[in-house]
């Protein structure tokens, strides 16, 4: 049964986390994120960082696709812009990583706006295809420009904080997790204000949005810029994490991955981006483990891994779209509702 839901001020009613229980959960989550690196093994810290980077990027794509309804298949390429920006700044200029990350976001936002311009003329599928074109063109630039190191790409030194090199996942963890948390919080805030509402309005019915005084192009480009900013920062973190940036690091399939992540997680909910990115990042790892267990019995089990991963990836997209179009976030809500009523109704 839900308790403590009576609210007496507008501020309380507009808060992101509005019940005591939610605050407790949030505190627990925060605490466990802080304690995590002290108890988990290196592999888990490694995975946590990877998940966080993907959460940041998926949240960005969710702003654009889930909330604004503009489908993009360019998120990975945009991450590439951010990663290269960080790599170039780190190797050639040597600016501190916070500046580099912000620059990565800014640069990517600018690129995103340029490739968002077709949204002036086209939407829906056509836009999705335009973003495919954008990622092809970006890939070409990455692999043929001297500044980006051509097909070889760039490798870069680790980020450093007060002279300490953040060269291991358990050190980078303290950079990646807070940045991602901030970004997710920012996205959640966004949808409490006019900007976020305008995005949703455009998604739901762009014509009536116009009647309400929402300029379509400007708002769509804002969404593109924001989403790309997120991709850029995520790409920057990616660069610090892998310290190698190559054109092949950001293929089209990764863009599909992020789109799949928000579909599986739940389009247009902040929680969806988090759950989806986490789930989709962990599934291949779980598969790897399963295949590892099979190795003694199935010859060449390892070589089956890639095709199985590809199949499962496709099947997850198809399965969620057909059977659970609202995604994991909806499943989560269902569980929550169940416990709100529990034990009075089961």
């Amino acid at each position: 049964m839900r308790i403590g839901t009576l609210k007496l001020s507008y501020a309380a009613d507009e808060a992101l986390f509005d019940t005591k229980v939610q605050w407790i959960c949030l505190a627990l989550l925060g605490l466990s994120l802080i304690l995590f690196p002290f108890v988990a093994g290196p592999y888990w810290i490694y995975m946590a960082c990877l998940v966080a980077i993907n959460v940041a990027s998926a949240t960005g794509l969710n702003i654009l696709t889930g909330y604004t309804g503009l489908v993009s298949l360019g998120q990975a390429a945009f991450m590439g812009v951010g990663a290269y920006t960080v790599a170039v700044l780190e190797t050639r200029v040597g600016t501190p990583f916070i500046i580099n990350l912000l620059a990565a976001g800014g640069m990517t936002a600018a690129v995103g706006v340029v490739f968002g311009i077709p949204s002036l003329r086209v939407k829906g599928l056509y836009l999705a295809i335009a973003t495919i074109a954008a990622s092809m063109i970006l890939h070409f630039v990455f692999s043929h420009w001297d500044l980006t190191g051509g097909t070889r790409g760039l490798s870069m030194p680790p980020a450093s904080l007060f002279g300490l090199a953040l060269d291991q996942p358990h050190k980078l963890y303290w950079l990646i997790i807070p940045v991602t948390a901030l970004m997710v919080l920012g996205a959640a805030n966004l949808f409490r204000t006019r900007i976020g509402r305008a995005f949703i309005a455009i998604r739901d019915r762009d014509i009536s949005a116009e009647v309400l005084g929402i300029p379509l192009l400007q708002t769509k480009l804002t969404s593109f810029a924001l989403s790309s900013f997120y991709a850029g920062v995520a790409g920057g973190m990616w660069a610090y994490f892998f310290r190698v940036v190559t054109p092949e690091s950001f293929p089209l399939i990764n863009s599909i991955f992020y789109l799949a992540a928000i579909i599986v997680g739940g389009m247009g909910t902040i929680l969806g981006g988090i759950l989806g990115a986490t789930f989709m990042t962990l599934v291949p790892e779980v598969l790897k483990l399963v295949v590892g267990w099979l190795t003694p019995w199935v010859p060449d089990a390892l070589s089956l891994l890639a095709p199985i991963r590809t199949i499962v990836f496709g099947a997850l997209i198809v399965g969620f779209l057909i059977f659970e179009p609202q995604g994991l976030a909806e499943i989560w809500q269902r569980i929550r509702r169940f416990f709100h009523l529990w034990p009075f109704r089961t």
């Binding site: 009576l6 609210k7 007496l8 507008y10 009613d13």
Partner: protein, 269 residues
């Protein structure tokens, strides 16, 4: 209404999007060989009634939630939209809905699918052309380039192809000049008489509808409010008032006089 009943709509309710109720217990009948007019203001549910009959509601996220519709003795709920057409129930939809990028002839060809599975031969389109000679002249042209009146003719012509028992006609006069309306309704009457086809005619133009129909229903808010043979309806003074609200009379309560109620409540969820 002693003739054999071809279409029997019984207490039907229709809801769109699971929220908006449009039909609220509508009943009507179409006897064999006759034209029945269904009149009513906009939003009364006339088009919805026709779509419910031809099973096309689903395409617009609508559903029959109660009641029963029988055509020629069969419960319609068991039939697919195209299966229904192939049993001789043809719906000429509002706005004509011709295939604009097909030629006139191809539009008629499309309608021949209504003959599938009925053991009826696909005959040349002579019958259609005999009613609408203008279509013959333009048979090779794209239907999209036809004038509004010609498009309406084509829409009715497609119905003729299907050798129907019952045609549902949705606002054939819509957007047409009086002269064209006259022409088309004259032909509608001829088709009814010569081919023995029954028709359920939805119209806003009551006078024109009454000129060809034998029986009329007037609906408002999703149900029938008045019905009767046309001769009687025409003479009925209430008819105009009731469904157009023109010339307020009787115990009419003005909307201006509705009372205000105000409540105040301060908690937020």
């Amino acid at each position: 209404m002693d003739a054999e009943i071809l279409l029997n709509i019984n207490n039907v309710e229709v809801v769109y999007n699971r929220t908006i109720q449009v039909l609220r217990g509508l009943s009507l009948r179409v006897p064999k060989g006759e034209i029945v007019a269904l009149l009513g203001s906009n939003g009364a549910g006339k088009s919805t009634t026709l779509k419910a009959v031809s099973n096309l509601l689903e395409l617009e996220d609508g559903a029959v939630t109660a009641g029963q519709i029988e055509f020629d003795g069969t419960d319609l709920a068991t039939l697919t939209p195209h299966g229904l057409v192939r049993r001789g129930l043809f719906h000429v939809m509002e706005g004509r809905r011709i295939f604009e990028d097909l030629t006139v002839e191809e539009n008629l060809t499309a309608a021949t699918f209504s003959l599938s599975g009925r053991g009826l031969p696909i005959t040349p389109f002579d019958l259609v052309y005999s009613y609408f000679p203008r279509l013959y002249e333009r048979r090779k042209g794209l239907a999209g380039y036809l004038s509004g009146g010609e498009q309406q003719m084509l829409a009715i012509g497609r119905a003729l192809i299907s050798k129907p028992k019952l045609i549902l006609l949705d606002e054939p006069s819509l957007g047409l000049s009086p002269k064209l309306v006259e022409e088309i309704f004259t032909i509608i009457a001829r088709i009814n008489r010569e081919q023995g086809v029954s028709m359920l005619l939805v119209e806003q133009n009551a006078a024109v509808a009454f000129s060809v129909a034998s029986y009329g229903y007037i609906m408002e808010m999703g149900k029938v409010v008045i019905d009767g043979p046309v001769e009687r309806l025409v003479k009925d003074q209430d008819v105009q008032e009731f469904y157009l609200g023109l010339g307020g009379g009787g115990a009419h309560k003005s909307y201006r006089d509705v009372k205000h109620y105000k409540r105040r409540k301060r908690w937020l969820s």
